[in-house]
């Protein structure tokens, strides 16, 4: 039921997007009433998206026939934003596709071309100046977070590389263990010999 609830929320968000972006409706007009099923391999479940000409309908756990069915891991899905990489992904076995390739490309192309003016939509609720300010701050925060993430990643990589230089190789560890065992054995032998000498 939680998945159904999540699907309902995503469907509402998509329909809101459809209201705000009339171009999306135009881009998908050719594929209306056709169902695109997406199987997410990691979750072993299939979602189906249908554009009816007025609204999107999104269903989970879909077991019916679809005009196009794609199957991919979650990590591959963002790559589908670019319709031209689909055939490449199929060749790499990252994507299975049954049915009409053009349907998948139409959805992929329509969403990739979306250029949402968030500030414009937000200005209807809070006014032009605050919307622009919030949007700019958002962009700055995004850029800052992106820079921080890159810096963190670089630093972490450098640290790991430095650590690699001083870290011992597994063979060295093995050799060290063998030496330790030999010393322990010698110490035990020596202890035994001292005891024998003392008992004489």
């Amino acid at each position: 039921m939680l998945t159904t609830l999540a699907c309902a929320a995503i469907e509402n968000a998509l329909n809101l997007l459809l209201d705000k972006e009339p171009n999306l409706k135009l881009a998908l007009d050719q594929v209306k009433h056709q169902t695109l099923a997406v199987e997410i391999r990691d979750w072993h479940t299939t979602y189906a998206l249908t554009f009816t000409g007025r609204q999107f309908m999104l269903f989970n756990n879909y077991q019916e026939r679809a005009e196009c069915k794609i199957s991919a891991h979650l990590e591959t899905l963002p790559e589908l934003k670019d319709p031209s990489v689909m055939t490449q992904l199929i060749r790499q076995d990252k994507l299975d596709l049954e049915g009409d390739l053009h349907l998948a490309q139409a959805y992929s192309g329509a969403f990739a071309k979306l250029d949402i003016d968030w500030a414009e939509h937000l200005s209807a609720f809070i006014g032009d100046a605050p919307a622009q300010l919030i949007f700019e701050k958002g962009q700055q925060t995004k850029a800052c977070l992106s820079r921080s993430a890159t810096t963190f990643s670089d630093t972490f990589t450098q640290l790991m590389q430095d650590e690699l230089k001083v870290a011992i190789h597994p063979l060295e560890l093995q050799q060290f263990k063998q030496h330790t065992r030999a010393i322990k054995q010698h110490a035990a032998q020596l202890e035994q010999r001292i005891e024998q000498l003392l008992n004489l």
Binding site: M1, T4, C7, K32, T50, G53, Q55, F59, E64
Partner: protein, 251 residues
């Protein structure tokens, strides 16, 4: 004695004449029609929308299909089916109760859904359609109110096209004891009071709770569908079995 049993049926926990049940059920729905949607949301905490979504997902409705939304009430399923079948398809919103049909028609017209929906007042036991004329039939939260459920299922089977399917979304039986006790308390103590507060009608909502308890359980309904001729009859429980979605095909 046998004849007397044959001429009576249940109306909630009461036993009434078979002829009287339809009008008694009609009275219940005349009474609740105006507040039906808001009460559904309140009573189920909005979960009825998720149950109906699941039914729509399993209906396999496509462009050009002819769909019968039986006991369709205020048209929740019809609204979605109307868009899925497109201009070349048709959705028939059928209900025995004209008050519910009127509320459904007003609601769907307000949504701008007019071109492919037909409104027909009908009795599920004798559907006014030719044999093999409908692709998909759904009956959501309606079968338990039908006097002769077997006759209704046979009638649905008759009008379905070969390859067509029936979906029955209905309250059912939960096998979780704790949930069952909680559900009983909610149904018989909170629900009628909620009905009194919102719709000024506690009796109708007491009937709702009683009729749910009198409705056949999952396996029995599955058997009834098979007896009516449906093949591959299956069901899936939702919300711990409080609601079950039965599906059967005609080949």
């Amino acid at each position: 004695m046998k004849e007397s049993q044959h001429n009576t049926t249940d109306f909630g926990y009461k036993t009434v004449d078979r002829e009287a049940k339809a009008s008694m059920v009609a009275d219940v729905f005349h009474s609740v029609a105006a507040k039906y949607d808001i009460m559904n949301d309140l009573m189920s905490f909005g979960i009825h929308r998720l149950w109906k979504r699941q039914a729509i997902a399993c209906a396999g409705v496509r462009k050009g299909h002819r769909v019968l939304d039986l006991a369709g009430g205020t048209g929740d399923l019809t609204a979605k089916f109307s868009q899925l079948v497109g201009d070349t398809g048709q959705v028939i919103l059928g209900d025995i109760n004209d008050s519910m049909l009127k509320v459904g028609r007003d609601k769907l017209r307000d949504l701008g859904l007019v071109s492919n929906i037909e409104y027909v007042q009908m009795n599920a036991e004798a559907l006014p359609f030719p044999d093999n004329s409908v692709d998909v039939i759904t009956i959501a939260f309606g079968l338990r109110n039908v006097t002769d459920k077997d006759a209704a299922l046979r009638s649905m089977y008759r009008i379905l096209k070969p390859g067509g399917r029936l979906l029955v979304l209905e309250f059912s039986k939960t096998d979780n004891e704790a949930l069952s006790k909680l559900y009983d308390f909610y149904s018989f103590n909170i629900l009628p009071n909620m009905g009194k507060l919102v719709a000024n009608d506690s009796e109708s909502y007491r009937y709702l709770a009683e009729s749910i308890r009198m409705h056949p359980d999952q396996e029995t309904l599955k058997g009834m569908m098979e007896n009516a001729g449906f093949e591959q009859a299956t069901y899936q429980n939702m919300t711990g079995g409080i609601v079950a979605l039965h599906r059967g095909f005609k080949y």
